[in-house]
Structures are given as C-alpha cells and as structure tokens.
Amino acid sequence: MDWRKHFLCCCVVAATCHTIAAQDASQATLTVIGDVASPGKFALQTPITIRSAVAGASPLAEAVNVTVLRHGQPRSQWTKLIRLSARDSGENAANGDVLVVEALSQLQQPAPRTAAVRTTTGTTVIAIEDSGVVVGDVLQGLGIDSSVNSRVRISARMRGQRSLQQAGTSTLVQHGDVLTVDAPLGFIQASAGAAESAYSEWNSQSTNVRYPEVPPIPTLGAAPLIVSPGEAGLVPPVPDMASWPSQEMHTDSLVARPETDSEVPETSVTKTPQRGDMEESLSEDTSDVVVSLEQQLGVSPVPRELSTLRPAKSRETQTASKTRVLPSAVQPTVAASGRSYGTDLIVISVLLLGGVWMFIRSYRASAMAVSRTGSAGGREGHVAVTANVLPTATQTEGALLQSSDQTVSGAAVSARGSGNVVSESYGGSASTAASVGSFHRVDGGHVPESATEYAKVYGTPRPAALTADTSGRQAPQRSRLDNLLRNAVPIDHVTPQLPADLNLYGRAQNPPQYRADSEHTTINAPHFERSRTRVQGNVAENRLSRILQAEAVAAKASGVSAPPVTSRHDGNGT
C-alpha cells in the first residue's frame, strides 16, 4: 500500500536521523528545517551566527523569517527576519537551537518537507513524505512509547499557525513543525542499539516491504572482528576499535565542503534523505556508495539484493562511507553503525547491572513487605529475618514509601554501612554504586545534591560514590548569585494560606469600572473610540430622570399619585 510505504520511509528516516543524533549528543548541534533546500542538523564546531546557519542550509527565498527555539524552551524565543543580501546581525546560535525557516516570498523550488522532534536526548529531523503523517507515526518511528506519560507539544508551526500545547497522536505533522516530547518515563533509546530495536519493532509490523541489502565490507589487515550473532551477513564486520587511529567522524558538509581529503568542514550537517520514493532513494544511494566503496576499498561492485532486515544500519553505513574520506575505509563504517567492542562491553555491563538491580529491588521489596506484615502483628519469624537483613533501610523506606511510590536509591542502601547484605553485593565499587543510584531516585527523580539534604532524606552521610564525579571532569562550581542570574535555582511553588475566620471591616464594592450599562467614565486610558464621543455627566441617570419625570407628569394628569423622582443610579452600582 502506498501510504504504508510512505510511512515506512518516514520511519526509516527517523531511525536513521535518531542514530546520528545519538552519536552527536556529546557535541553542540543546530537544527535547521523549513523552507530550505538542505534541512538537517549542523555540528557547531565553532560559534556561528543564525544567519550563517540559515544560509548554510540554502534557504529557498531571499528573505526568510527564522523562528528560533532554544534548547529546553517550550516556546519560540524570537522570530527574526533575515535577508541574505543584508548584513549579519551577529546573533550567535546556541547548542540545541532549532531554526524554522519560513520563506517570505514564493519558493524557487519545492522545499523538502521536514519536521523536527525535540526530546530530552536531542533533536531529530524527520522527513515527511506524505501528508498523512501524524504524531503517533513519528513517535512510533522514533521508538517513543507514547503511553508512558509522554506529552507531545507542537512548539512551532509555519504559516502563522498556532502552536499546540497538547498534541494528540492523531495530530497531523506538517512541514516545519517542531515537536517537543516531554517524556519523564518514556524515553528515546539513546544508543545505537536502541535505534535497532525501535526499527525492529516497527519492521515486524510491516513485513511486506523489502529493502536492498548491502553485503559485508571486506576487512583490512588482521584486525580482530566482533560480529553480533544476529548481524552476520547483514552488516559489515567490525574491527577492534583499539587498533584504529583516533579520528572523529564527519558527515556531509553543507556550508564548507572540504576541498581536500584532510580538510575538516567547519560546519557540517547530517543530511536527511530527501523526498522521493524510498526504494528509489535507497537504490540511488546504493549506487553512489558502490562507487565510493570501490574507490576506497578497491573491491568490485556489489549486487543488489532485497532483504527485510536492518536497512537503516546499512543505510547509515553507506552514507558515512560516502561522505567521509579517511585513511582506513572501515572506520566510518564502524562509527556509523555505532557498534564496537567497547560498546558491547558497555551494553553487557549495563545489562548485568540491571539484573543485579532487579534482584536487589525484588529482594528489598519482599523484605519490606515482610516488615510491614510484621509490624501489623503478622508473621513474627519473617520480621526477625527482615531485621537481620535490612535493619535501617526498611525503616527509611517505609517512611518514604508512605508518601511516594517511588523507590529508594540503591546508593542510599549501600550507604547504610556494614551488616547490610544489599550493600555488600554491589556497594564495593564506587562507580557501581553511583551508577545504580542513578537508576533509582527519590523525590521524583531528584537525588539530593548537598550533603545536608542527603543526610536529611536518608538519615545517613552522603556516600563518596555520589559526590565523586563519575564522568571524570570536575563540574564548574557556581555561586548562588551565578545560579540566580542564570535562572538555575529550582523554584518550588507554594500557596499562600490566609488565616481562617477572617473578618474584615467595611463594605465591599462591586467593580465599578466594569459597568457596561452606563458611560465608562473610569476605564483607563486610552479610549480610542470613545474619547470624541464621551459625554460629560451620567447619561443613564439623566435619561432615567427624564423618564421618571414624564411618568410623574402623566400620573399627575391622570390623577394617580406617582412615586417621587429620586434617582439613585449613580453609575457605580452602590
């Protein structure tokens, strides 16, 4: 079906872009979408102005309106009119900026229809190949579980359309949309392997589509090979990273394409595949890659075959190989696929830690449940066991869990000291304790930063594992005033409590300035329409007086006693 193919294309693009975004997470990036010929993500290696960034993406009109969305900001910060022929105003772009370019004149050529998705892990550019793509499609393509407290907003839209604070899964995604996903529990799997799983999940639902397969790239030299079991024959074999020279991977450049092989582009962008049929674009890419690989590896062209497995990874491999010229042709392949020996080790260690944590959690949960039962006068034997295993942690947990369903930090348990079985199991290594602690946090994900707050929450001194900087670099220490000026001080909202049984003296007045049935003599300036026609005095009162006088005269003429003419309409409602 045609729509399914388009959606497939969108998801593949999303998965591709997301993988690249995850790799570039450590460096500053800038995203440009909208009416530009080359939308995508720039790597901010040097300070760059917004105008330069827009010009680098090849805007399709001479005058464009650029909406800037800063990283972490829910709304657009400003919209700026940029003329390519005018001077640069010198406003620098910042890391994480999303620039939505909107042409103010007729487009010189059709623009690639793109949108940006901002998440906690970065910004992803997606290509919209069909007008029927909705938010749910995008979330599914990116591997975001929309059912887990994720909230999607459309922070910016083109053509003067208003933003949406809450976008549903059926909301249409349009060209130039900037989607912001707030996912406290849902997440984008930030590693390269995460893109695989997201793609596999999607791919399992669309088994009719087949993709050209790229055969393995021949290895060079005697480098050791690490091949995952499921990837044999589908992805290029990966040599050991340790044997490579340390070089960064650079993607295709939009602004300054290097003239020579050794020149590194100053501003590079990860190109999003353009519109067009998926199969055609893949075929074109494959042919391009064949030439490139031939030149680099000296191998014969590979035949085109079809496969339903892992086209995204192969596609990344091709793109990286095409756009990067390195001394060793295998390096970009490995960098783009994101799999290496070190990565596997990290994944394995994370899985092991997760298993350990799951065991600890279940063990402590059972212990706590037994403790609660025992305190209620239940099975005494189990209470005794609990007291031996977790004498202090259970008490703290009980206090915390009464107010919140969230678990206590594993590092906190490790800080309980000797005699604690759980502490001994994983508390030996400082880094391990810290990493486990980062999984489970107290108070809505907030791990107490200061020693005093930590001691207040947990009742024990803060362990050294949490105070040590595990990333290896010292975090900058800012003063309180610095944090205040940078708006980095967390603010808690409280509600003012007025005293009960409040007795006030005097009589309250209705809001006089809101009266609409008399002349607005007190509406604050300026009165643009009423200033010339304002009538001195109270028209309503005069009119009422005239009516009452007329009634009095009529009543007098008819011989009936009329009420006295006493107008009390003073215009203030009192």
């Binding site: 900001q73 709304r75 910060q77 400003w78 919209t79 700026k80 009119l81 105003s89 010198g90 053509r159 003067g160 359309q161 208003r162 933003s163 604070q165 930063e449 200061s450 707050e453 309180r480 005033l481 205040l484 000026l485 940078r486 708006n487 001080v489 967390p490 603010i491 808690d492 909202h493 409280v494 509600t495 003012p496 409590q497 007025l498 005293p499 009960a500 049984d501 409040l502 007795n503 006030l504 003296y505 005097g506 009589r507 309250a508 007045q509 209705n510 809001p511 300035q513 809101y514 009266r515 609409a516 049935d517 607005h520 007190t522 509406i523 604050n524 300036a525 300026p526 643009f528 409602g573």
Partner: protein, 348 residues
C-alpha cells in the same frame, strides 16, 4: 534574610528561600482580586461544601485570591481587582485589609535579626502622586512583617533577572496588566526608564466591550466579563501576527496599539542615549511580564521598532524565560546584590 514581592495589578508574587532547603527558592503567587458573594446561609453552606475559604465583611462574603474564580459563579459578577487601575483603593476598606493579609501570608516569617524585602509597586504609570501613595501604603505593610523594604522598578528588576546574556545592556520591557514599563540600561546601569498606564487589562476590556462579552447581576446591571475575555485569550493562544477571525484580528489590533506605543517611546529614548554597543550591533530588547506570553508579540514589537526607528539602529527582540516570573526573580537578584558579601548578617 532576603525576599522579594511583586505587587502586580493582576497577580501578586513573592520569592523567598525555601526554609527546608536553602539552596532552593519558594514562589508564592495569588491573583490580586476578590469575589463578592452575598452573605446568606445558602451561600455560606455552598462555600463550606466546596471547601472555598472566604472572609466576612459587612453584608458580604469575600473569596480572595486564587479561590475567587471558584466562587465567581455564585456572584455572577467579575472579580474585583485589589489594585484597580494600578492604584491602592482609597475607599475600599476590605480591599486594603485584604492586601495586608496577603502580604503577611506571602512573606515568610523573619528568622534573622534583619531582613530585606525588595518590592515593586504598581501604578508607576499613573503619575508620581499615585505611585507615591501606593509605595507608602505597601512599604508599610512590608515593614509590619519586619522587613526593610527596597522599592525597585519592574523593568529594572526584569533587566536583572533576564538580561544576563546581554550583560545587562539593552532594553527591558515589562508588559503588565495595568502598566507597561521599560528601561534602557548599560552594564546594569539604568539610563532611562518610563512607564505608562496601559496594559493587557485594557485590551481585555476593549475585547469584552467590542464583542459584547457581558454578565448580568441579580439586579439586571450589566458588567463586562473580562474574565471570560482573559480565558479566551489565554486558552486559544492566538498568534498576534496571524489572526484567524474577527476576535483575533481585534486582539491583534489592540496589541498593535500597545506595542506601537512601546516602540515609539523606546526608539525616542534610544536616539538620545549612548547604550555603549558596538557599531551595527543589535540592541537587545527583552520582553517580560504576563503580556509577553502572547504568541507573536516579540515579532510584532520587532517590526514596530523597525518602523519607528529613524536612525539605523537594529534590534534583537526576545521573550525572556518564564516572562511572568522575571520581575520577582530580578527583584530577588537585586536583594542579593544589595546585601552582598559585606552584609552577611542580612543574607544569612
């Protein structure tokens, strides 16, 4: 001890250190209005039943602050502002007492020997006489809590709270409910400041009047339903630069008048001042206040500034982060700067 309080015509906000976690701050905010409910048994029972706190005055029940909206359906009248037209009410005794009670409730108890409360005073655009009366009354309320009041302008506070990126150089504009304030500063030194009595409440009243958004009380008197106009403006989130219907066109036109006025005064002042920017460097303009939440407002202000500009200045207009909190946060920063290292006793 340092705290700040922003007496806004629409919302009163205070900021002070969290007593349980000193590295965090507490924000207390309440709407500066109250709703009048008839003092009958039925109304009392209804308020009790719904858990709405109220105060008692002569012949009426008053629902104060954020709870006023919950009781508005019983009075069928728009809520009465505590600071009508940016003025402390002189003849509304309950309103003055409510201001006292709110001030006492929103400022933390003084735990040190001395305390500083940096405050903004409404009515700056109503003239010095009105501003003086407001300041005299409100500073007295703060003193009654034990703090030493320091009065600061809203635009100056917003400059401290939001213009770090421009090194406190440029223009700070605060669009409030009753007053628009702006100041031009160079390295934190205020070169010029001005306020005028015009704000989003005027826009809401004009919208309510043009489109007949009215309510009737039990006696048949007609009132402009500004609350409904405000709700529509906030919930529909219209873009001022691209109105879609008549109401949004009218709203865009009214904000256009407001913004044009701001742009005229700013450009007039910029021409006579040396802000100290490099040649051809754009003048940073930071917009804050509740009115800055309107979509498209910075862009409209930027266009108006360019239209009003007689010389070759260029502007970079941006909306501050959390524009409604910029003033009270800047006032707190001012307090930190005033106390400084030499006043450790106050800052403790």
């Amino acid at each position: 001890m340092i705290c700040s309080i922003d007496f806004g015509s629409s919302v009163i906000r205070s900021l002070f250190p969290n007593p349980e976690a000193p590295e965090r701050l507490c924000l207390s905010s309440t709407r500066s209005e109250y709703t009048i409910v008839p003092d009958t048994d039925v109304h009392r029972k209804t308020l009790f039943g719904q858990g709405v706190p109220f105060a008692v005055c002569e012949g009426a029940l008053l629902v104060i602050g954020n709870d006023a909206a919950r009781a508005r359906w019983m009075s069928r009248l728009p809520a009465s502002p505590l600071l009508s037209e940016g003025r402390i009410p002189q003849s509304d005794a309950p309103a003055r007492q409510i201001l006292y009670e709110l001030t006492q409730a929103m400022l933390p108890p003084l735990t040190t020997r001395r305390g500083v409360c940096v405050m903004t005073v409404p009515g700056a655009g109503q003239g010095e006489a009105v501003a003086g009366l407001n300041e005299e009354f409100l500073t007295r309320l703060v003193r009654m809590k034990g703090y030493t009041p320091i009065v600061i302008g809203a635009a100056e506070a917003a400059m401290l709270g939001a213009c770090l990126d421009s090194l406190f150089t440029g223009v700070s504009v605060v669009i409030g409910a009753e007053t628009v304030s702006w100041c031009i500063a160079r390295r934190g030194l205020v070169l010029a400041t001005e306020s005028f009595a015009m704000g989003t409440r005027w826009v809401d009243m004009e919208i309510a009047r043009r489109f007949g958004v009215q309510v009737w009380d039990a006696e048949g008197r007609v009132f402009l339903d500004t609350d409904q106009a405000v709700s529509w403006r906030i919930q529909s989130d219209p873009n001022l630069r691209s109105p879609r219907d008549d109401q949004e066109t009218a709203l865009s036109g009214l904000f256009g008048v407001l913004i044009r006025k701001i742009a005229e005064t700013i450009t007039g002042a910029v021409e006579t001042l040396d802000i100290g920017l490099r040649p051809f460097q754009a003048i940073p303009v930071m917009v804050s206040g509740g009115g800055a939440l309107m979509a498209g407002l910075p862009e409209m202000l930027h266009a108006s500034l360019l239209e009003c500009e007689a010389r070759s200045h260029r502007y970079s207009v941006a909306r501050t982060t959390s524009p409604e909190l910029a003033v009270v946060r800047g006032a707190y920063v001012y307090g930190e700067l005033e106390t400084g290292p030499g006043c450790a006793e106050i800052a403790a």
